[in-house]
């Protein structure tokens, strides 16, 4: 009865926990949370939030699957395809996650509930959009109590967004350095002077930091608060966040169009080969496009019916892709910032609370288009190491593009005199990959000198 496995990231909340049983994900609601759960059900909040795509849908099962004494009920949430973390999200995605959190807080208030913690780790990508996944994050609202999650919201969402907005730079790695949120005091120091002239920034960062420093050793048990005050606070945060933006880098779009124009035949042939291979191979459902750039080929895979992870180290590219997915309501491409040479690590308790990237991107087909010269030259990765990596994340097929030593992009990477690795040749490439894969097909890409290879995983 009790052969369940508690999810390594689900231990902080006494309200319940997520566990796996027979490879199915469940969420247990503990007795302690029963009054809050009852309110969320009977008030119609869960129904409203699920119908409006704010909260992950779940089924309630009246069965104690864990055998624990404090069991109240069991929920079976719809599974999320690929878990991702805020340090892998581009600016616009984090901004939308912040706005979703604020909207959910406001909606919950209408049902007599409040969001008890505001962290982007409670938000995931689900069917082409962001959705809140922690069903037990709502508790009965007491109007005289201020918002417990206010500071957390400021540090987890507002701080990184403001820093990125004022510096016009993608700073997602900061969220990896401060997984609990960037401290307000630090944000204050890192923001430029002109940010003080924004009323809402001044209030939520500068004034907050000032007051908390002054009152560090004092206790305030009775602070008068009301729903009206809370609504003002939420409105202020919303007004501020809605205005934050990161400008499109002209260079990314123009470089892409330039390449498309210059190498029209190249892109056409590459697309045709890719599409014919994907149509030919049977029973594949998921794809990972490593080094996807602005996601041109990820979108092609999605059109062929594959749930595709579009990964690139360039945050500006992923931001553009995210915006495209959002504007065109594309449901089967998930954008993610990631670097094959420096994948995000496992962090948190026992290094298991937030899982390493490479364990989350395993899929039926892996695409590595125009990637290997970057890995070989910029990160000094050898072909045998690449083959080992792809074998780890690839369940069935690998579509990989060989970029020769005399390719203009390879030469560009070598322009500062860095020597090309000795074994950088098509022959060495094939030898290394055929240790782990079986060669299925290969086709030259127009007259670019590049070759596309289709490999299958050897048992």
């Amino acid at each position: 009865m009790s052969n369940f496995r508690q999810h390594p990231s689900s231990f902080r909340d006494e309200a319940g926990f997520v566990f796996l049983k027979d490879d199915i994900l469940y969420r247990q609601v503990n007795q302690l949370y029963a009054p809050h759960y009852q309110r969320a059900v009977t008030s119609g909040f869960y129904q409203f939030a699920i119908e409006n795509n704010l909260l992950i849908p779940h089924l309630e099962l009246q069965e104690n699957l864990t055998g624990t004494d404090n069991w109240y009920t069991t929920l079976k949430p719809e599974p999320v395809q690929t878990i991702s973390y805020p340090y892998e999200w581009p600016f616009d995605m984090l901004k939308d996650a912040a706005l979703l959190t604020l909207r959910l807080t406001k909606e919950a208030l209408r049902y007599g509930l409040i969001l008890k913690d505001a962290t982007p780790y409670n938000i995931q990508w689900f069917k082409g959009q962001l959705i809140f996944i922690d069903t037990l994050s709502f508790e009965n609202y007491q109007p005289e109590r201020p918002w417990n999650a206010y500071r957390q919201f400021c540090e987890q969402f507002l701080s990184p967004l403001l820093l990125m907005h004022y510096h016009q730079t993608f700073l997602h790695p900061l969220m990896l350095a401060w997984p609990e949120g960037i401290p307000i005091e630090l944000t204050k120091k890192l923001l430029p002077f002109r940010s003080r002239f924004s009323l809402h920034t001044w209030l939520h960062i500068f004034l907050q930091s000032h007051i908390s420093e002054k009152t560090r050793h004092k206790e305030f048990h009775k602070v008068a608060f009301s729903q009206k005050k809370l609504m003002r606070l939420l409105l202020s945060l919303e007004l501020l966040i809605e205005k934050l933006k990161i400008r499109d880098s002209e260079k990314h779009w123009s470089a892409y169009y330039h390449e498309a124009k210059e190498r029209g035949d190249y892109l056409k042939t590459k697309t045709a080969v890719l599409e014919s291979w994907i149509s030919k191979i049977q029973n594949i459902h998921t794809a990972t496009d490593l080094g996807c750039n602005t996601g041109e080929f990820s979108l092609r895979c999605a059109r062929k019916g594959l749930h595709t992870l579009a990964i690139d180290a360039d945050a500006a590219c992923i931001n553009l892709l995210y915006r495209k997915i959002k504007n065109e309501s594309i449901t089967s491409v998930q954008p993610l910032i990631g670097n094959a040479a420096f994948p995000s690590p496992g962090i948190g308790w026992q290094n298991k609370e937030r899982l390493p990237l490479l364990t989350r991107i395993i899929s039926d087909v892996t695409l590595a288009l125009a990637l290997i010269h970057h890995l070989a030259i910029s990160a000094n990765i050898r072909f045998r190491q690449m083959a080992e990596l792809f074998r780890k994340i690839c369940k069935r097929f690998l579509i990989i593009e060989f970029v020769p030593a005399d390719d203009e992009k390879t030469l560009w990477l070598l322009r500062h005199g860095k020597p090309l690795p000795e074994d950088y040749s098509e022959q060495h490439f094939l030898t290394a990959f055929q240790k782990h894969f079986k060669l299925e097909d290969s086709l030259p890409v127009a007259d670019s000198g590049r070759t596309l290879y289709l490999f299958s995983v050897t048992p």
Partner: protein
């Protein structure tokens, strides 16, 4: 980091902060509403005229 910092609950300090910020926002939104009324008082009649034309 001061050693005693580790024992302070970051949530409790933020309660006073929220009360102060919410009060400041009360004043800010009050003036914003007044500005909104003034703007709509002057702009509306012109808009109606434009529509009639």
């Amino acid at each position: 980091m001061a050693p005693d910092f580790l024992y302070i609950d970051p949530g409790s300090g933020s309660f006073l902060v929220q009360a102060i910020i919410a009060a400041a926002l009360g004043v800010a939104f009050f003036f914003r509403n007044i500005m909104g009324w003034i703007k709509s008082f002057f702009i509306k009649p012109f808009k109606k005229k434009e529509k009639n034309n």
